[in-house]
């Protein structure tokens, strides 16, 4: 074939026609456009928030689709084509410098979201998201409304729960710290609130807990644990002050439960996605030792061995200095068999 400007140009036009037909027009014509079970149109305010999301380029760091392999906050449901039928333009994104936002709605309360946009390092001390404090109150409102709508009807359900509990928590908070503390305790199942921290508050454990506190909690509960971190200004109810209410019942299980699940309706987020179990026990020890001034561990000296149901065997050697003696219950298991005689050669 002779390569002339005309043949090359024509060939290219034919190729482009063929390709656009297969990869652009055909998909458009054959695409199923049925709504998914969770999608709903946005309200006018949420639409305004979406415009702000676009203007401010949030798509540079946030994706909006969940893959079958994803965990994180939005790893609740794999995205479907029908989730996007109202989106124009699409905001799928191609990078996750920050977490996916497909299911962001209702994960946090509105006051958490506002504090986060004012300065992401308030609720999330290690964040690299820029501040959006320049938004006017109206714009902030709209952006929060949009973010809280992400996840469609699933988000609406979560928001309904957040709002319900938010009212109760605000009421409790404004009846005084004492009342509030008792109220919060009434929300924790008794098997948790009576459980001591199974891991001892050793020096290392507390140091590890401190690291977690500095990465996760410090700008809300404050460096002194008095609830006066910089985020507090934007939150209602305010972050809990650990230093005042020593006479209330504190236990490792109580803190663990509240940190793992958060306190729905308040800015206190859940950490079950961010922190593994051992880290939650450690931060509970740190909070107890440093701020509350109580040791809430069980006195279990079995450091390094997983805490299981059977009680410890009698100590065969001196406990290490500092370990608290604890009563030894008879073991429910038969004593171990004597070792087998050596195998004959």
């Amino acid at each position: 074939m002779a390569m002339t400007p005309r043949s090359v140009g024509l060939g290219m036009a034919i190729l482009a026609t063929f390709a656009t037909w297969t990869v652009l027009f055909l998909p458009g014509l054959t695409a199923p456009n049925t709504p998914s079970d969770i999608v709903r149109p946005l309200t006018p305010k949420e639409r305004l928030g979406r415009v702000l999301y676009i203007k401010n380029g949030c798509i540079a760091c946030h994706s909006q689709y969940v893959r079958p392999t994803d965990w994180d906050y939005s790893g609740l449901r794999v995205s479907q084509r029908g989730d996007y039928i109202y989106d124009r333009p699409h905001l799928l994104g191609s990078e996750r410098t920050g977490p996916d936002l497909s299911q962001e709605g209702g994960q946090h309360t509105d006051d958490w979201q506002i504090a986060h946009f004012i300065n992401p390092r308030y609720p999330r001390p290690a964040s690299i998201m820029p501040r959006f404090s320049f938004l006017s109150p109206n714009e902030m409102d709209a952006l929060v409304a949009y973010v809280q709508s992400l996840g469609g009807k699933m988000a609406d359900q979560r928001m309904a729960r957040q709002r319900h509990w938010h009212k109760l928590l605000v009421a409790a908070y404004h009846r005084g710290a004492d009342y509030n503390a008792s109220y919060l305790r009434s929300l924790v199942p008794p098997q948790w609130s009576t459980m001591p921290n199974p891991y001892p508050a050793t020096q290392v454990a507390v140091a590890q807990g401190r690291f977690v506190y500095e990465q996760m909690c410090i700008n809300c509960h404050g460096p002194l644990g008095d609830g006066n971190g910089p985020a507090a200004e934007w939150l209602d109810p305010k972050p809990f002050n650990f230093t005042l209410l020593k006479r209330h019942r504190w236990s490792g299980g109580l803190i663990y439960y509240q940190v793992m699940n958060g306190i729905t309706g308040s800015a206190m987020p859940y950490f079950k996605e961010d922190l593994e179990s051992a880290k939650i026990w450690d931060v509970a020890n740190y909070v107890a030792v440093h701020f509350i001034g109580k040791n809430i561990d069980s006195g279990n000296d079995l450091n390094g061995i997983p805490v299981s149901r059977e009680s410890a065997p009698p100590a065969e050697h001196e406990p290490y200095p500092g370990a608290k003696p604890h009563p030894v219950a008879p073991s429910p298991y038969p004593p171990p068999q004597p070792p087998l005689p050596p195998h004959p050669p």
Binding site: M3, T4, P5, V8, G9, G11, M12, A13, L15, A16, A19, T20, T22, V23, L24, P27, G28, T30, A31, I54, K55, N56, G57, C58, I59, A60, C61, Y65, T69, W71, D72, Y73, Q80, R81, D83, Y84, I85, Y86, D87, R88, P89, H90, L91, L92, S94, E95, R96, T97, P99, D100, P120, R121, R124, A126, S127, I128, P130, R131, F134, D274
Partner: protein, 476 residues
């Protein structure tokens, strides 16, 4: 350059101005990129909303693609097309007009995106009026290329000109359709269909625009600089048609894990792997053209840049085909692996070829480069920069991908990737310095010497053609 004329009609002025504009935009875009990289390390660095990371990241990207790469490559390709057809540009005035429109479009984008005017699709952020300006300039340039080729006195159409024609024709279609220009306000369709369209566009702005222009310039310079005939006409053909046929259909490989149509993903995956055929055909052709002349590579700054570009083309394309496979994508998608790949492709491959070709054109126009030593220095700075980028971004991307796959949250991984972000910003300094050297060197070259006459240019022009003829005669 004694008296400045807005619509200059002196021969070569279009190419020269395109090239120098491209060099200036390269510097601007990389400075913006450096600020953006620093903000990822120090998010509270600036408070002004227009300078926040999410607003300047698209400025960095678009200024690089449309300012730096497009302008530098267009300038060089216009020059190459003239030389290869042994005819002056059809109209320098029209070319200059296109050059100004293109410059104003880039400048307008630089201003409007930070103000929040964006259509949000990647690489298509420019709002409607800027899109119109670019399409108008594209139409003018396409017309120029066709009219210039129609006046050619050299009968043979060399490979570089195929790529020029192919790129301009295909890009006109891709740009218009991909920007959904009949919806002026949003520039978007609805839902997943919108995603499929916008990724068709985003992929092809590289596939039918940046890359073919760079490939064409490699075909132009490697035989000339090495004084060897082009290795094979058959490989040129194999590298050309399949290239466009495959490339136009791979857009959906950006959506492998999104709920795009499954058959469309399959088409994209197959074509992405198929792309390796024209890619390797091209590379074989270029590298075998250098046979017996490898020693020339380190001496000629032009050849050095362009050869390095082809090597990085090898890596980025091979990596790209891997990324299109679901098993690799599972770890790499959404991470900095993609960012590394994009830099290797745009800066490493097409950027190196553009910079080298720019030096080549200016050297021919003005007799010599103002400072060869500075050019070599620039080469090494940029090579350290892009090599480091690729390494750091790929490493951090794999780290992110595997941590996420293991259930760590994005927030928890931030402190782990922090040191990499610092390295990345530091490496950015090398590239910015390289870009600054380039502007200085280009401008000084154009100032220090008198431009050669068109007649003198003809004297040097025909090596590539002659050599290729020789290859044909030899029965290739």
């Amino acid at each position: 350059m004694s008296h400045f004329r807005f619509l200059d009609d002196s021969p070569g002025s279009t190419a020269r101005r395109f090239i120098i504009s491209g060099a200036i935009w390269f510097f601007v875009a990389t400075v913006v990129g450096l600020v953006a990289a620093t903000e990822l390390v120090a998010p509270d660095l600036v408070g002004a909303r227009g300078l926040l990371f999410p607003r300047i990241r698209p400025v960095h990207v678009n200024t690089n693609v449309f300012g730096f790469l497009s302008m530098l490559l267009v300038g060089c390709i216009l020059y190459a097309v003239c030389r290869l057809s042994r005819a002056p540009l059809y109209s320098e005035k029209l070319g200059n007009l296109a050059m100004w429109i293109w410059n104003f479009a880039t400048l307008a984008g630089l201003i409007t995106i930070p103000m929040g005017f964006t259509q949000s699709h990647e690489y298509a952020e420019y709002v409607f009026p800027i899109d119109v300006a670019i399409v108008v300039a594209l139409v003018m340039l396409t017309y120029l290329v066709f009219r210039t080729l129609a006046r050619r006195t050299e009968h043979l159409l060399y490979v570089t000109s195929w790529y020029a024609v192919g790129a301009f024709v295909a890009t006109l279609i891709v740009y218009f359709l991909g920007n959904v220009m009949w919806h002026a306000k949003t520039g978007a369709l609805t839902g997943m269909n919108d995603a499929e369209w916008s990724w068709f566009y985003a992929h092809n702005i590289f596939g039918t625009w940046i890359t073919p222009l760079a490939l064409g310039l490699s075909y132009f310079w490697i035989p000339r600089e090495s004084d060897n005939p082009l290795y094979s006409h058959a490989l040129s053909l194999l590298g050309f048609w399949p290239y466009f046929a495959f490339y136009l259909q791979v857009g959906t490989h950006h959506l492998i894990e999104a709920p795009a149509q499954p058959w469309l993903k399959l088409i994209a995956e197959i074509n992405s792997v198929g792309l390796l055929i024209p890619v390797y055909a091209f590379l074989t052709n270029q590298w075998l053209t250098l046979r017996g002349r490898w020693w020339k590579v380190p001496d000629s700054v032009v050849l050095k840049f362009i050869f390095a570009g082809t090597v990085m083309y090898f890596f980025t394309s091979t990596e790209g085909s891997l990324e299109a496979l679901p098993s690799f994508q599972r770890i790499a998608h959404f991470t900095n692996v993609t960012v590394g790949h994009a830099h290797l492709g745009l800066l490493g491959f097409s950027g190196f070829i553009a910079c080298g070709a720019g030096y080549g054109v200016l050297r021919e126009m003005y007799g010599e480069i103002w400072s060869e030593r500075l050019a070599h220095l620039q080469y090494w700075l940029m090579l350290i920069g892009i090599g480091g980028f690729t390494f750091v971004l790929t490493a951090v991307g794999l780290l992110q991908g595997s941590a996420w796959r293991n259930g760590e949250t994005v927030y928890r991984v931030l402190p782990e990737i922090f040191p990499f972000y610092i390295e990345r910003a530091a490496l950015g300094c090398f590239i910015v310095t390289g870009a600054a050297i380039q502007v200085y060197n280009y401008v000084r070259t154009a100032q220090a010497h008198r431009q050669r006459s068109e007649r003198a240019l003809y004297a040097v022009d025909d090596t590539a053609i002659a050599l290729r003829r020789e290859a044909e005669v030899a029965g290739d």
